[in-house]
């Protein structure tokens, strides 16, 4: 990351809060929910069957929600549901019933953008907390105050808010502030982009975004005189118009070898600045990515969990561990930056080069059992692996070691040349103790 030296840590040490911020993680499905919570999330946000912005994600049924809430309870964690579309007329029927069902399923809060859903929730299901979605692009304290007075205990700020502004908002309004601290982001003000609607007839504000901001564009300058198409005769003899008549109507603002124009942003990563976030008063650290893999969610959650705990335990002696950054990079799909927290993003914060999409590591296996006496672990296969391959084990709280896979056996004790089958349980010898739900990853 190029941001470390770019900013002085002007917020560090200003104020040490007693209350720990919440770590809020995305959970695209029930399995991801379990990983997110097991790896340290205090709360997860999920999508239901309706009114969410991830129309492609395998969203939760009420049944799955209940199961998720049950699981979360064991860890003292909460489950939120994103209900953050901007509704159209046809979406209005059924909001009330849907919200009631969420409440009955044990959901702690809904994340809402459209004021009519806010209003409906407050009126019809007062027990259900309402958090204002980032889709509202709330970036000033007075707007935050407005929503607080509407009965909302929490506002998710627009991603355009700086740390300084967050601090000021906290000064003016006694409200919980949730901020995105990690993951992909819209480069537009949230909610203020309809590129997908125009290019593909997909409504971005109801979950249909096709990421047109990451497409490539050519930038030109119109060189026609302003009135050329209105009064051609009048402009006769005009030197600019002559050029226009010669057919030169646009100047490319790029050379053959240049990268194309794009609005695509690098991904947000605040792991190097956890103390700043805590000190200005961010109450909930939100990680983006309901569509991201289990490996991504577990890795990122695990790292922020350690950083937050470590800072809260002893703020004065807090040190940023290099292995946290290494871990984050193992899951990262894109280059990272600090968004608007310190400065308005500039040329270093967008991705003009061709993107290499894939994260460098794969989830290879999940630890199901471990026998201390023999050092043998039962691993559920999640991706192909074979003897001789280097793998890494990691688990909640920072368990971490590398080793080379030696022999692999199936459950009957037959030796295998590779772990080939998804979800197949195999046995291998591990170099250090592991626990149920630790993960094994391999380089791609």
């Amino acid at each position: 990351m190029q941001t470390a030296e770019k900013h002085s840590p002007k917020y560090t040490g200003k104020r040490h809060r007693l209350e720990k911020p919440e770590l809020l993680a995305p959970a695209g499905n029930l399995e991801k929910l379990k990983f997110a919570i097991h790896y340290g999330a205090d709360a997860v946000y999920i999508g239901g069957q309706k009114y969410g912005l991830r129309s492609n994600a395998d969203n939760f049924s009420f049944e799955e929600m209940r199961e998720g809430v049950e699981f979360a309870k064991k860890y003292g964690a909460k489950v939120f549901v994103a209900t953050n579309i901007y509704a159209h007329n046809e979406d209005l029927d059924g909001i009330e019933e849907y919200l009631r069902n969420l409440y009955e399923a044990g959901i702690s809060a809904v994340i809402v953008a459209d004021p009519i859903i806010v209003d409906t929730a407050r009126r019809a299901v007062p027990g259900l907390e309402v958090h204002l979605s980032t889709q509202q692009s709330t970036v000033n304290w007075q707007a935050v105050k407005f929503w607080k007075e509407e009965g909302l205990p929490r506002v998710v700020l627009g991603r355009e808010t700086s740390l300084e502004e967050i601090e000021e908002i906290k000064k003016h309004v006694d409200v919980e502030i949730e901020a995105f601290i990690h993951g992909a982001m819209c480069s537009s003000y949230s909610g203020r982009c309809v590129l997908s609607n125009h290019f593909t007839d997909r409504d971005s504000n109801r979950g249909g975004c096709c990421q047109s901001c990451r497409w490539k564009y050519d930038l030109f300058e119109d060189s026609r005189p302003e009135t050329a198409w209105i009064s051609e005769e009048e402009a006769m003899g005009d030197p600019v118009l002559q050029q226009f008549q010669l057919g030169v109507t646009q100047l490319p603002l790029f050379e053959e070898q240049d990268n194309a124009f794009t609005m695509g942003s690098k991904d947000l990563c605040m792991i190097e600045h956890v103390p700043d976030l805590i000190d200005v008063g961010v109450d909930s650290f939100k990680i983006e990515g309901r569509m991201k893999s289990i490996h991504y969610v577990a890795t990122v959650v695990n790292v922020y969990r350690q950083a937050i705990d470590s800072y809260m335990a002893d703020p004065d002696n807090y040190v940023l561990k290099p292995e946290w950054i290494e871990e984050i990079n193992k899951a990262a799909n894109r280059p990272l930056n600090t968004g608007f927290f310190y400065d308005t993003p500039d040329h270093e914060d967008h991705i003009y080069e061709p993107e290499e999409k894939a994260a460098p590591y794969d989830f290879a296996g999940l630890v199901m059992e471990y026998d201390e006496a023999t050092g043998m672990a039962v691993i559920q296969q999640r991706n192909h692996f074979k003897p001789g391959q280097e793998v890494e084990f990691f688990g909640p709280g920072g368990t971490f070691f590398k080793q080379v896979v030696e022999q692999i056996w199936d459950e009957e004790g037959n030796e295998l040349d590779a772990a080939r089958h998804p979800l197949q349980k195999v046995k291998i010898k591990v170099d250090q103790p592991v626990s149920y739900f630790d993960m094994m990853r391999k380089k791609k």
Binding site: A87, E165, L195
Partner: protein, 310 residues
């Protein structure tokens, strides 16, 4: 059938304001980039007072746009601005940020509030919600279709405004995206304008014929549609449904073009309301607009007849 709708036009200068009112506009939308986004020009407070005097003499209304998303640092000066607008005697304020609503309610409750959350004002119920908070009008999202617009008319407790002509904003970022790109390329931008007058546009690889204007100002980067909405042929459907205000977007157009367009819509509205039952669309109206239309920009129905999925 509803009442005769207002014909609303953004004006960038006093001269434009005079031209547009003379061409048949009933109301103008003005302001400055510091508070209002995507206006065709800046009006200082003194000009606003003058605009109000001029317009009110002709029984026209003056609305001021404060439709940006405000940051903390602007809240204080917003109060001052609203106080001054109130003194100037303006008729309405367009807002998207709740901070503006609160400030106007507190300082100048006599000014009407028009809720304009751009692409996110998409249903009548939310509009009615803002009605309970003091708004008297909703500016409907340009991505709605004809059915959605007409169906919601009887459900609305407040007035509605629909854009019937011109380009629309399709993307707004606080980032300086053109500046960033040019810096990345190593092109000099210092001093060079990236504003509207520069005539910058984007072309996407698979849509070589569509030019999307892009510009930067103090509010960040704005990308505009490659086509111009023109609902003229079906204006009667909107008139019959009771839409209260028709907006013609003037941004990026020479005033001679806007003048023509305003005249034509004026004619269509007046003709309809003389005798709605026997109203007939006049092909010549459309021809007059086509004659001045930039050949590189398609006249389209926007989203009025599009099916969108998600």
């Amino acid at each position: 059938m509803g009442n005769k709708p207002e014909l609303l036009v953004p004006a960038g200068s006093l001269k434009e304001l005079e031209t547009y009112l003379a061409a048949g506009a009933d109301a103008v939308l003005i302001g400055e980039a510091k508070y209002g986004m995507r206006l065709p020009g800046d009006f200082a407070l003194t000009d606003i007072a003058e605009a109000v005097a001029y317009a009110h003499e002709r029984e026209a209304k003056v609305y001021v746009s404060i439709n940006k998303l405000l940051h903390n640092e602007q809240l204080e000066e917003l109060r001052h601005y609203v106080t001054e607008l109130s003194k100037a005697g303006i008729d309405g304020i367009q807002f998207g940020d709740p901070a503006v609503l609160q400030t106007v309610r507190e300082i100048a409750p006599q000014i009407s509030l028009h809720w304009n959350a751009e692409m996110t004002s998409t249903n009548y119920s939310t509009a009615n919600y803002w009605g309970t908070k003091g708004a008297s009008r909703v500016v409907l999202a340009r991505e709605l279709n004809m059915d959605e617009i007409t169906e919601m008319q009887p459900e609305l407790n407040i007035d509605s405004e629909v854009q019937v002509h011109g380009m629309t904003n399709i993307y707004h970022s606080k980032r300086r995206l053109v500046h960033s790109y040019m810096t990345h390329q190593g092109r000099p931008v210092d001093g060079g304008s990236l504003d509207k007058d520069r005539g910058l546009f984007l072309v996407e690889a698979e849509r070589p014929d569509e030019k999307f204007p892009i510009y930067e100002d103090e509010n960040g980067t704005h990308i505009m549609s490659s086509d111009d909405i023109c609902i003229l042929e079906d204006l009667h459907l909107l008139m019959a449904s009771g839409v209260d205000s028709f907006k013609i977007e003037t941004l990026f157009k020479p005033s001679a073009y806007n003048e023509t367009v305003i005249r034509i819509y004026r004619q269509a509205i007046d003709t309809y309301f003389q005798d709605p039952e026997n109203y007939e669309f006049d092909e010549e109206w459309m021809e007059s607009i086509r004659r001045v239309q930039d050949p590189e920009r398609e006249l389209s129905f926007g989203f009025f007849y599009k099916e969108q999925v998600y």
